[in-house]
Symmetry: C2
Subunit: 190 residues, 2 copies
């Protein structure tokens, strides 16, 4: 039946609308401002419609997070492959990562700070997330080799994560960011 197909498209479109509305509102005013009532008003439906698409607010945030994984994976890949050599690639990837966290803090929080109930370091993790981590790994590999590559990538990732979250929370001065990044890269053989 054609009407069913059309209906499916409309539903998928509305679901996309919910996720982008949630993301945009969160980036503009923070996750606290993303309430089911405001979200319903934005998509011009009532609240229960949200629950026909997602189990709850957490599931909406998880959807924003998954979208963010794909985004960051692409950003990391382009910045890595565009670099002249391995050292420049790691530098570019590190900057791209922290820039992303800085420019999309709400999305970043949904991805990596907030408890959102997504599987991570398991095969069940979202493919986009595994891809993003893979980009970090490929940026690290040429400089430190294959020994303990995954674990070393995790340490690199954690360092970037710590730098960005502490800076955004006001725990580290913004004006030291470049220098901190440079010192971190130096430690990784940049």
């Amino acid at each position: 039946m054609p009407p069913t197909k059309r209906r499916e498209r409309e539903l998928a479109e509305r679901e996309r609308l919910i996720v982008t509305a949630a993301r945009d509102l969160a980036e503009a005013q923070g996750w606290d401002a993303v309430t089911t009532r405001r979200l319903a008003e934005l998509i011009e439906y009532s609240q229960p419609v949200l629950y026909s698409h997602f189990k709850g607010k957490d599931a909406i945030m998880a959807a924003v997070a998954v979208e963010g994984f794909a985004e960051v994976a692409e950003i990391l890949r382009t910045s890595r492959t565009a670099a002249a050599d391995a050292s420049a690639a790691l530098d570019a990837v590190a900057h791209a990562y922290t820039d992303f966290a800085d420019q999309r803090p709400a999305t970043y929080d949904a991805m990596f700070t907030l408890a959102v109930g997504l599987p991570f370091a398991t095969p069940a993790a979202p493919p986009a997330l595994r891809e993003a981590f893979g980009e970090l790994r490929e940026a690290v590999r040429p400089l430190i080799g294959d020994d303990d590559l995954d674990v070393r990538t995790e340490v690199f990732w954690a360092s970037l994560h710590g730098l960005t979250t502490l800076m955004r929370g006001g725990r580290l001065r913004r004006d030291g960011h470049e220098q901190r990044l440079a010192l971190l890269l130096e430690g990784f053989g940049g």
Copy 2:
């Protein structure tokens, strides 16, 4: 007047009671479970009494955070000074830091992840926080020297912070923690 003095003591004691009740409840059931109603019931007063001590829930969390700064400063100092040499000291400090974050996640979040409106990288920062950072710095100093000491300490701190928060959020497997810590310390000349 003596009664005024006694009254002041009672007020100070009640304020301590509020902070410890908030901390204990947060550690036991998470910050979401720390509501003004439950807190009021725990201290056996009504909600408005909380607001005669603190401006709001955030201020209570900030008080818990400041308490945490003092705690972690002491923990870091004892583990640092008890170590045999500089390398062992950095190792001990790193483990003490992540152990603290692991054992008191709610306090740690109040200190370093939640937006709580405390001044950090300024002279107005809580003395206990400056002291805790100072302990990290003194643990790092013998190994990397005085060049860019503060910034290098910040990077070290951020790495520890990233490792702990990502692990606790389920983003990193717990069983890789020791290895990650070892690799981080290796990078800092441990």
